[in-house]
């Protein structure tokens, strides 16, 4: 007796029957995504290249070293030196990191290890809300409320009791590296704590339980099981926060005091790259515009480098954990 086998289409038939209706859709989808991705990459490349080309004359006239390490910025005389701005950008970013990262890591630890799930959910939401506040609001709040009411008295206090050290030397004006750094630290807390929370969540529960099982207290468990595995993830989060702090414009423009100078004391006013660009580009003539574009290139390079390093570290840390976790 012959049994009728169900007719499976041959490979050839499959290609014509099954694939044909899907082929066009797949093609469009693939093309669409490729176009979108390449557009983004092209735009980024275009921005860097056109900015660098437009600003080339200022690098030529000042010399690359002269531009990067020059101390004076006098558009009327055609003198453009970027060092005070680079210094101010780095100092305010470092203050933001030094103050903001420990707070953010502690928040993330609390939310992932200690808080009950309902509390964690609500508090995470509130912390993430900080990231939704526009920077200009931070700037306005900073200059009209936070600095006069909180930061200036704090800085007066620091100048009075720690003024003997170069770092906290007065006189205090209110607008300073420290003011900008502290407002920036508030702004980077949401990013850093969000990434850290993700990183802590990837630590296998088994490791935590193992630590607790051998008698560790909760803090010891965190120290032994969670933090060591999260180290590169935390570094990645720090780099992301650093990227944000380096590029923040309006907060720096309003709170830095706009003084083209380098001070050892963080209580003194200074200037950042983003702030001087924002302040001067509207009224700048062509050579000054080119110099500001030159600053943009420097800022671009620093920010891209920081972001690339951050992504590499974060990718490596999550990859490593996935590999170890099996």
């Amino acid at each position: 007796m012959t049994v009728e086998t169900p007719s499976h289409p041959s490979a050839e038939q499959r290609r014509t029957l099954v694939d044909r209706p899907r082929r066009r859709g797949d093609r469009f989808f693939r093309r669409g995504t490729v176009i979108a991705s390449s557009t983004v990459l092209l735009l980024l490349g275009l921005m860097v290249v056109t900015t660098a080309l437009s600003s080339w004359s200022v690098f030529a006239s000042q010399g690359i070293g002269g531009f990067l390490f020059g101390m004076r910025w006098v558009p009327a005389e055609g003198i453009f030196g970027a060092l005070p701005f680079v210094y101010g950008t780095l100092v305010t970013a470092v203050i933001a990191i030094v103050v903001g990262v420990p707070i953010a890591v502690l928040i993330a630890l609390y939310l992932s290890e200690i808080a009950p799930r309902g509390v964690a959910r609500r508090v995470s939401y509130l912390v993430d809300l900080l990231a939704a506040i526009p920077s200009v609001v931070y700037a306005m709040w900073g200059v009209f409320v936070f600095v006069p009411v909180v930061l200036k008295p704090v800085q007066d206090f620091l100048a009075r009791y720690l003024g003997w050290s170069k770092v906290f030397e007065g006189p205090v004006f209110g607008l300073s590296y420290l003011s900008v750094g502290l407002v920036l630290s508030i702004m980077i807390v949401p990013i850093v704590s969000a990434v850290c929370r993700e990183v802590f969540a990837t630590v296998p529960q088994a490791e935590r339980e193992a630590a607790l099982a051998v008698g560790a207290t909760r803090w010891e468990m965190i120290r032994l099981a969670v933090l060591p595995r999260s180290r590169s993830g935390i570094v990645g989060a720090v780099m992301l926060g650093l990227g944000r702090a380096l590029g923040e414009t309006i907060v720096a423009a309003v709170l830095i005091g706009s003084q083209v100078d380098i001070h050892a004391s963080v209580l003194q006013p200074g200037y950042t790259m983003a702030a001087v660009i924002a302040n001067q580009f509207a009224e700048a003539d062509s050579s000054q515009v080119r110099a500001l574009l030159g600053l943009s290139v420097v800022l671009f390079v620093i920010t891209i480098a920081v972001n690339v390093i951050a992504r590499l570290i974060v990718a490596r840390s999550s990859g490593a954990i996935r590999k170890v976790g099996g």
């Binding site: 009327a76 009209f144 006069p148 423009a253 003084q259 083209v260 302040n279 509207a282 700048a284 003539d285």
Partner: protein, 358 residues
């Protein structure tokens, strides 16, 4: 299949609704003819850009002018004097506006496009503002003000200041200097005054929209300077008169070139033009004026236009500027701008007539 037909029908319906909504436009156009005293209804668009200082009064004038000429649309973007000049030279706007008249270089570039007319519209003044609670009505002169902004005079009870303010109990308070961090016509006017009246400042700093300040912190815009002054006792900075009046800052009187101590006001700002011989191209400065009762840090603000402007647009610009110069004085004063004197107004109107006709 039914689903496909339903979806298609929904799309057609949606498109039809959109078409109907767009189609309605044809019934809502107004002609607006005959509402004014203009002989023919003016219609069209003008684009201008430039100084932020006169932006409030320009925008107010535009609003009033458009109420009388509903088919005319005047756009003014207050992007700063520098931007106004750049756009004017690049001919990307119909008219420019600047707190500083074109420099020789800029004039050469612009003249390549056509004859350039500087039309002064209003006067403004820059005043030093300070924060010393309980001490009103300080007086300074050029040398004292320069000394403060150069960092040579560092306390309020310095002899140079005390000499000008007999009878005032000046505290031994450190002076904190505040200047503008953004490039601005206000800075240009203020530093021009110090440049003209003090040789040391002229040699060390000069003048411009952005300068290399010897001392002091920068605030962003008039608001930033004002906030910085208000925050620190002992601060001194400079702001536009209109702004100082409206924000209630303490301001100093200045001893002018004639030796008179003058308070900043609309009257003293206008008085700065007294006796001034205006050059033919109306590129003048009132700073450090010779006028005996004039405020020494006054400045004009100009509208820039080309003589070979497109005739259709020129009609609109001439109409707007004539209206503003002849009927805008009361509005200007209400917003704390000083109207220009009659003699200058006549010269300005003569220039307005040449727009589009030369």
């Amino acid at each position: 299949m039914f689903r496909r037909t339903g979806r298609a029908a929904a799309v057609v319906l949606a498109l039809a609704l959109v078409a109907v909504a767009c189609g309605d436009d044809s019934t809502t156009t107004t002609t607006g003819a005959g509402t004014g005293t203009t002989s023919a209804a003016l219609a069209g668009t003008l684009d201008g850009a430039g100084a932020t200082f006169p932006a409030p009064i320009y925008l107010e004038w535009i609003g009033q002018y458009q109420a009388e000429n509903p088919d005319v649309l005047v756009n003014y973007q207050s992007i700063g004097s520098g931007g106004g000049v750049t756009n004017f030279i690049g001919q990307t706007v119909d008219f420019g506006a600047s707190d500083a008249f074109l420099t020789e270089d800029e004039l050469t570039q612009a003249s390549a496009n056509g004859t350039v007319y500087h039309i002064p519209m209003v006067f403004g003044a820059v005043v030093p503002a300070y924060n010393l609670p309980g001490i009103e009505g300080l007086t300074l002169d050029c040398d004292a003000l320069t000394g403060i902004f150069m960092g040579d005079i560092t306390t309020w009870n310095d002899p140079a200041i005390a000499a000008l303010n007999a009878g005032v109990d000046l505290p031994d308070q450190a002076i904190q200097v505040v200047h503008r961090s953004d490039g601005s016509g206000t800075t240009n006017t203020f530093t021009l005054y110090l440049d003209l009246c003090n040789a040391a400042w002229s040699a060390a700093v000069g003048h411009g929209k952005t300068v290399e300040w010897p001392v002091g912190v920068g605030g962003e815009g008039n608001e930033g300077v004002s906030a910085a002054i208000a925050q620190s006792v002992g601060s001194i900075g400079y702001v536009e008169l209109a702004y100082a009046v409206q924000s209630g800052l303490s301001t100093t009187a200045m001893v002018n070139k004639s030796g008179n101590a003058i308070e900043a006001s609309l009257a003293s700002t206008s008085a700065a033009a007294e006796g001034v011989v205006f050059p033919d191209d109306l590129r003048f400065t009132l700073v450090n004026t010779d006028a005996p009762q004039g405020w020494p840090i006054s400045s004009a603000t100009w509208i820039l236009a080309y003589g070979n402007m497109d005739p259709d647009k020129a009609v609109l610009l001439r109409s707007f500027l004539t209206w503003a110069l002849t009927e805008g004085d009361a509005t200007a004063e209400s917003l704390d701008y000083a109207p220009i004197p009659d003699l200058l107004q006549q010269k300005a109107l003569a220039f307005v007539d040449l727009i589009g006709n030369s």
